[in-house]
């Protein structure tokens, strides 16, 4: 996983509540057996005027001029401002893969759906939760000022606005460590392999009925 330490980047505002993972990456793209290549299809139904299919050359497709990410001022944005309950719906990890592949490294919103939130961290995408009023204010500032950037500093858990206002945010310490170091969860967990094995043995003795077929085999 790629490390996340600091990011000073252009911000794009996506002003809708309850953006679901079907909207982030529609189901026809879930047929891929790979992790990459989803960026061109991010928000496909909103971004393009035609119907997207996997394998299409998106550079030739008609774009929806009203969709925020198609506006010239937001090209190259790496931070996405979102509204409540972003990422609700399906557990598809294709959603954070698509956001990352498009170029986003951080999301800022008042709340995220649980599974999506978790999936972001597994891929080095930082979802930041701020109070709704603060998010409102950022939306206002971002829309008012073309070229609006934010500087995110994970070690100090702070965001600095162009006017040098500093906003601090909360993050779980384990997730923070993983992001800062680019650690792979599986490697970390396997350090406890002996402990897992001991647990499993005791568990099996207590609950043999969950291991019936395996014992018979």
């Amino acid at each position: 996983m790629e490390k996340f330490i600091r990011l000073d980047a252009l911000v794009a505002p996506l002003d809708r509540a309850n953006v679901d993972t079907d909207a982030i990456i529609p189901k026809q793209f879930l047929k891929s057996i790979h992790r990459s290549g989803f960026g061109p299809y991010l928000f496909d139904a909103w971004r393009y005027l035609d119907r997207g299919e996997p394998g299409m050359d998106c550079s030739k497709r008609p774009k929806n001029p009203d969709f925020v990410l198609n506006q010239p001022r937001y090209q190259g944005a790496q931070i996405l401002l979102v509204r409540e309950n972003f990422g609700c719906g399906s557990s598809r990890e294709h959603a954070p893969w698509a956001l990352l592949d498009y170029g986003f490294r951080a999301l800022i919103g008042p709340s995220f759906a649980d599974i999506f939130y978790n999936n972001c961290f597994k891929n080095g995408l930082l979802p930041i939760v701020l109070p709704a009023e603060e998010v409102d204010r950022l939306f206002g500032e971002c829309e008012a000022a073309p070229g609006y950037r934010l500087a995110i500093d994970l070690p100090s858990q702070s965001i600095t606005t162009p006017e040098d206002r500093v906003i601090s945010f909360e993050i779980d310490s384990f997730r923070k460590e993983c992001l800062l170091n680019g650690w792979d969860d599986i490697g970390l967990t396997l350090r406890h392999a002996d402990e897992i094995r001991r647990f499993e043995e005791a568990y099996r003795a207590r609950h043999p009925y969950y291991f019936v077929e395996e014992s018979a085999a």
């Binding site: 189901k27 057996i33 139904a45 996997p54 557990s91 649980d114 999936n119 077929e213």
Partner: protein, 473 residues
């Protein structure tokens, strides 16, 4: 005081280790796998030179991409086929306790076949790369939907990294009136608490109305816990739970069964257990529900009307309602009963079990599909459900009414196969998500119970199923 909730008990029983900040490793009993969210996980495993920790925990099936039209014996779409073939190869290479491939008589939607085969048992931790894994909570399981990285993590370590959620109880008191089903209960709950109402919580569904539901009904309720924002939904063990598993193929037998039952009986919340949040509904006041928008919380009952966005005080909600009505092609104030439908879908892991098909058939018996309804798909959740329905003659009732009787799969729940809506088409659907484009780009979905879907197919528009039911029901 050491009183525990059901969730506390399940958590404690599976806790391998916990860091000072609360990050924990939870041992996983059952890992359900399907073709869409697993290929990248197996690939990751292979790249790292790792092996599954315990293949005996794995049960796999192909469900999302498979065709449900019985005349299609092959998967025509090459990309869908590749995904199903990749699952075959991965399961063959790495192994599993059970695999129900495409064409197997027991193949079906992963959340239907898990309980049906006894792969899901009370008290287990169950994970699957699918958000509707919460379904298995109906059996007092701690069942989580997970992402693909977590699928790989569970494959490699048999554990899931978790932080404990808060405890929430949703109590539905009283008894359900005729014509009101488990689906109406969960839609009404989501309407009350909202799609983020359960975020960060594990929900236990309790109360007389939940206890009186069959196991199928409880699965319907837990299935949509995720639509209320909760990754986990549960119902405590009772006699119905135990009866359900008595003859299931993978359930323990003889002495082991007795031993299991002794443990399973403890899987209830202690009477003094504390919940961080509690919501109470009165079942007697519930009516058949119909969603009108593009989020499951945008719901009203059959006697209601499409709301006016201006009636929402919260600007974010008002904006969402405006967008939803534009997408759905609906005018504020329209009575729900005047909304006409183009297609009807009876299926999905929410409502494709035998009881759902029986409820739909009871409405359809002796009636015909309305001429304005182009197509009605009835898609059983598994090969075994299909077989049982045919033994009961339900398929004949559907076919005589002009419905299509299909093979098992996810089908038009998410339209990854050929079953889908055309842009602008309106569907009465028993599935769980009415998101934009969910059932096909531009398609318009209204979530309802199987009986309400069947009634809409007969009437050509939404109609109060209570008026169509035989008096004896």
């Amino acid at each position: 005081m050491n009183a525990k909730t059901l969730y506390d008990k399940l958590w404690d029983a599976h806790l391998v280790r916990q860091e000072p900040d609360g990050t924990a490793l939870i041992y996983i009993d059952r890992h359900l796998i399907h073709e869409v969210t697993s290929p990248q996980a197996f690939e990751g495993l292979r790249l790292a030179g790792r092996k599954p920790w315990r293949t005996g925990s794995i049960v796999a099936t192909a469900d999302h991409n498979v065709p449900t039209d019985p005349s299609e014996t092959e998967i025509r779409d090459p990309i869908s086929r590749e995904q199903v073939v990749t699952l075959d190869q991965n399961i063959r290479a790495f192994g599993a306790l059970r695999y129900f491939p495409f064409h197997d008589p027991r193949q079906g939607i992963v959340h239907v076949i898990g309980p049906e085969s006894g792969a899901t048992l009370p008290g287990m931790t169950v994970v699957c790369g699918d958000s509707h894994t919460s379904t298995h909570g109906a059996f007092a399981c701690l069942a989580h939907g997970i992402g693909t990285s977590e699928v790989e993590h569970v494959l490699a370590t048999q554990c899931l990294i978790q932080k404990k959620a808060k405890n929430m109880r949703v109590r539905v008191d009283g008894s359900l009136p005729p014509g009101v089903y488990a689906k109406d209960v969960i839609l009404a709950i989501i309407g009350r608490i909202g799609t983020a109402g359960g975020t960060g919580h594990a929900i236990e569904f309790a109360g007389e109305a939940i206890r009186s539901l069959s196991m199928e009904g409880r699965m319907t309720v837990c299935n949509m816990a995720i639509e209320a924002g909760a990754r986990v939904g549960m119902v405590a063990v009772d006699d119905k739970t135990l009866d359900y598993f008595r003859d299931k193929p993978l359930a323990p037998k003889g002495e082991l069964w007795e031993q299991a039952v002794d443990y399973w009986r403890t899987l209830v919340s202690d009477p003094e257990a504390r919940f961080d949040r509690e919501v109470v509904l009165d079942a007697a006041t519930l009516k058949p529900q119909v969603t009108w928008g593009t989020s499951p919380e945008m719901v009203t009952d059959i006697e209601g009307r499409v709301p006016d966005p201006a009636s929402f005080a919260d600007p974010v909600k008002r904006d969402a309602a405006e967008r939803a009505l534009a997408y759905m092609g609906l005018e504020p104030g329209t009575p729900i009963g005047e909304i006409r439908v183009d297609q009807v879908f009876i299926g999905s892991c929410t409502n494709s079990r035998i009881e759902d098909l029986r409820a739909a058939a009871a409405v359809v018996r002796g009636r015909k599909k309305a001429p304005n309804v182009k197509r009605v798909l009835v898609v059983p959740g598994s090969g075994l459900v299909k077989k049982q329905a045919e033994e009961e003659g339900l398929h004949r009732i559907f076919i005589e009414a002009g419905f299509e009787w299909r093979d098992p799969g996810c089908s038009m729940c998410l339209a990854m196969n050929a079953d889908r809506l055309e842009a602008g088409e309106r569907c009465a659907s028993t599935s769980n998500r009415n998101f934009e484009g969910r059932q096909g780009a531009g398609g318009r979905t209204h979530l309802v119970s199987p009986a309400m879907a069947a009634a809409a197919a007969i009437a050509g528009h939404f109609v109060d199923v209570r008026e169509l039911l035989p008096a004896s029901v």
